[in-house]
Amino acid sequence: MSAAGQGPGAPFAAGTGLSAPPSADPAARIAALPGGSEWTLEAIEQYDEAIGRIAARYRLDCYPHLLEIISSEQMMDAYAAIGMPVYYHHWSFGKHFLATENRYRRGQMGLAYEIVINSNPCIAYLMEENTLPMQALVIAHAAYGHNSFFKGNHLFRQWTSADAIVDYLVFARHFIAQCEEQHGIAAVERIIDACHALQTVGVDRYKRSSQLSLAKETERQQARSDYLQSQVNALWRTLPPLPERERPTQEKRFPPEPEENLLYFVEKHAPLLEPWQREVVRIVRKIGQYFYPQRQTQVMNEGWATFWHYTLLNTLYDEGGVSDGFMLEFLQSHTNVVYQPPYNSPHYTGINPYALGFAMWRDIRRICETPDDEDRAWFPQIADSDWRETFDFAMQNFKDESFIAQYLSPRLMREFRFFSVLDDDSKAKLQIGSIHDEAGYQSVRQKLSEQYDLGRRDPNLQVWNVDLRGDRSLTLRHFAHRRRPLDASSANVLGHLAYLWGFVVRLERQNADGSVELVMQKSHEKRATPSGAAP
């Protein structure tokens, strides 16, 4: 699993790559950077340079980056397109835009300070309304923090191609615009609607094995038959044949193995889709796949970026680059971001990924630098190690689920005062499972890790069978995890799937005891039959 490069990545800042951490370098006092709250392009450039220098000393390995200054309206545009610089047109983006605009205009929400795009070069947006300290914060957070995470983490390296994404989006936009011209906006919109509904179940969780070349395939077959030939023993032929027995004939399923990527299955196997429709399905699927690593690494990624803006700016302050006023403004935003309301607060909406991530990265550094006995017992492999190397290893080789399972320390659980609540709908009351005590650490950590496991968080749905010889109906199987049902909107999603598939679609549920029941069934919408259909 840890194939994606161990140890530090490519030495990107070769000259300073091996220097000691900055705290050991008292001579590094730098000239004061511009103060005040008004920003100018020159000031931003100076800040970027100063932060970049410190980042290089910390051996942060980043893509080159591009800072784009945008207005609040453009920020809302970017929101609607999930931050991407180009996107195809669809009404749902218009809906998001209107919702954002309305809430922003009425003061119900502020806009995010930054959006950063995992591309090469990495694009970070700075909003013009931000003050200078905020711009510095955003640069440190996005252009160095997120950027290095995108470059290092194995999920991003494996699943996204930062060099190609913008080009691909441009292609997608053109292709879809072309389809709209040829087939009408309504037809294209219909298919994108359906694809969007399936986008969360349209991702690959594992790499598909690449197709064997014909030569390899024949070679392999040859080897097999050679082996069989070498095992032939004429003696066996003398045995009398077994009487024919009634064998239970199990119908062969298609696909032979269940397929969890519904969009992939539709793209490859839906009987009635036109070639352009398959391409649209593919586009939506590819873009969904591109965002999948982000969903898997929220805590790590945000925590990493927050840790680095905190560390970089503090270093800048220690070296005399910025003033106390700058730090106060920065710290105020920073503490807002990493605030974790307790469960009984009216503001509580779940665990704040910024808070948890930031605390964990800080904690890992603490364990590396000043471990106590408990840490040594829990984390023998990282206690007293070089924190930068430990950081890079952790950043590169984990996702939220495994990161928490690996690195959440008992001390942090005590600080957050974590406790687990079991909500079983067959019982009248909620039960407290385990809390932040000696007996509960393992269990709390494991449960928190599961909470971030997308495999458990999203319903487990697989294409189970297609009735190839009959009515071509598609059967979807939901493997219910801890008796959790699907929500009400799944009927609509199934309708969309039926549209794509073109024939009846069934949804079954397989319970923990292995029993299978039919949940619902959707028949396809009538399509215009192509000319040349049978009379």
Partner: protein
């Protein structure tokens, strides 16, 4: 490594406008309903602004597979202040923290109303969608306010910025070929002659480089012709072609709208406000169809006066009603200021239908003989909840005789204004212009 900073603030802003328009087009039905609700709620005078509308969130939800409530959920929460392992606690009502899905809906409002703001244009588009002004025949060239420059081929003179390179070079190439052609023909002949002569002399065994007057003459002629051809200018002022644009007058269409309001004692404030809203709608609608719209306000009780907008809606008189006085005045005003050959004339009359009994037939005659021939469309609305009054009965006769030109509707309450308006201006099938 220097960073690249791109200032995008001045790039095009409305990147989402396409998506926004798609959204509105897709949910037109729901939005129109919301818009027609909105008109009941707010004053017509500020109809001209955008409008905040809400449509049911259910309709526009984007479904995805997700877990519903039920089954077992074991969640981790921070901030334990009282619990120890094994505690049993009551399920919180509303289940905000109980189910602990960990993800706040990013829609915020969830499945409640989806509220957003329409721009003024979007609002009016939807508001007047599928409505049309009947008989917009007289789009007279009344006043010429502006000119539009349109392409009109190419000219031989102009300013250098307008040079059309393609045309110019094409012309130059043609000219070069045409002027050079006679020389080329002669050149070919001479070259042929030279070749033949050389061949001949070679056959005769003469030295090809030996001086010979005939050969020298031929070579000289050839050189002269070549020079001639080369002297044809590559490009000549004669070849220049310029893009030509001419100013075309843009006719402005204009309309005048007569608002006739009954301000007699029987018209109370509420009825007047209904009439006012109706007139405002009509005004907005005309404004969208004509570039230049004027309004004439006429109010009447027993006598009619032309007033300005404020007086029209505010002051109140008492006394009887003679509707024909207003129609008379309208005729006079038309005759004096709005020649029907130059103006599209619309009339809208609002009244509670109370009229002097003897006057109603006269109103009908006035309309039929004097006004309807001049106007594009005349609408009468009767604001009353009671039974139709005598004016209504008289006008009914008109309606059957002038189906496309005259329409009448009854408005009971504010709620009816928009439906009635839509009914009056519903797009009708193509019926004779």
């Amino acid at each position: 490594m220097t960073v690249r900073i791109v200032d995008r603030r001045f790039d095009s802003k409305h990147k989402s406008s396409v998506n926004r328009a798609r959204f509105i087009r897709r949910f037109k039905g729901q939005i129109r309903k919301a818009v027609s609700d909105a008109i009941g709620k707010r004053g017509v005078r500020d109809l001209d602004n955008g409008e905040k509308v809400g449509i049911p969130g259910q309709d526009i939800a984007e479904p995805q597979f997700g877990h519903g409530r039920g089954g077992e959920w074991e969640t981790i929460n921070p901030g334990n202040d009282r619990f120890v392992r094994g505690d049993q606690i009551a399920r919180p009502q509303g289940g905000a923290s109980g189910s602990g899905r960990g993800q706040a809906s990013n829609e915020g409002e969830g499945l409640d109303e989806f509220v957003f703001t329409l721009s003024r244009d979007e609002f009016l588009d939807i508001f007047f969608d599928e409505l049309a002004l009947p008989h917009m025949v007289k789009r007279q060239l009344a006043r010429i306010e502006n000119f539009k420059r349109v392409r009109a081929g190419f000219t031989q003179s102009g300013v250098p910025t307008n040079i059309n390179l393609g045309r110019t070079m094409r012309g130059a190439a043609g000219r070069r070929i045409a002027i050079g052609a006679p020389y080329v023909v002669r050149l070919r002949l001479l070259e042929k002659a030279l070749r033949e002569w050389l061949q001949l002399s070679a056959n005769a065994g003469a030295d090809p480089d030996a001086p010979d007057p005939h050969k020298a003459q031929l070579q000289q002629d050839i050189a002269r012709l070549r020079a001639r051809i080369d002297a044809v200018p590559f490009i000549d002022t004669f070849d220049l072609r310029y893009n030509n644009r001419v100013r075309v007058p843009q006719p402005t269409t204009q309309a005048v709208m007569f608002c006739l309001l009954d301000v007699s004692g029987s018209m109370d404030e509420e009825r007047k406000s209904i009439a006012k809203r109706f007139f405002m709608l009509l005004y907005l609608f005309l404004n969208r169809n004509y570039e230049h719209t004027e309004i004439v306000f006429i109010r009447h009780h027993t006598v009619a006066v032309e007033v300005d907008e404020d007086n029209f809606f505010s002051s109140r008189e008492t006394g009887g009603t003679v509707v024909s006085s207003a129609l008379e005045l309208m005729r006079t005003v038309i005759a004096a200021r709005y020649s029907s050959s130059q103006w599209n004339i619309y009339g809208a009359q609002a009244s509670d239908g109370d009229n002097w009994n003897d006057d109603s037939p006269r109103c009908r005659e006035l309309l039929q003989d004097a006004l309807l021939p001049l106007t594009q469309y005349f609408a009468y609305i009767e604001i009353t909840e009671g039974p139709p009054q005598n004016l209504w009965r008289e006008y009914e006769k008109l309606q059957t005789r002038h189906p496309g030109h005259f329409a009448m509707q009854r408005i009971g309450s504010v709620r009816d204004i928009y439906p009635v308006f839509r009914e009056l201006f519903r797009k009708r099938g193509v019926q004779g212009a």
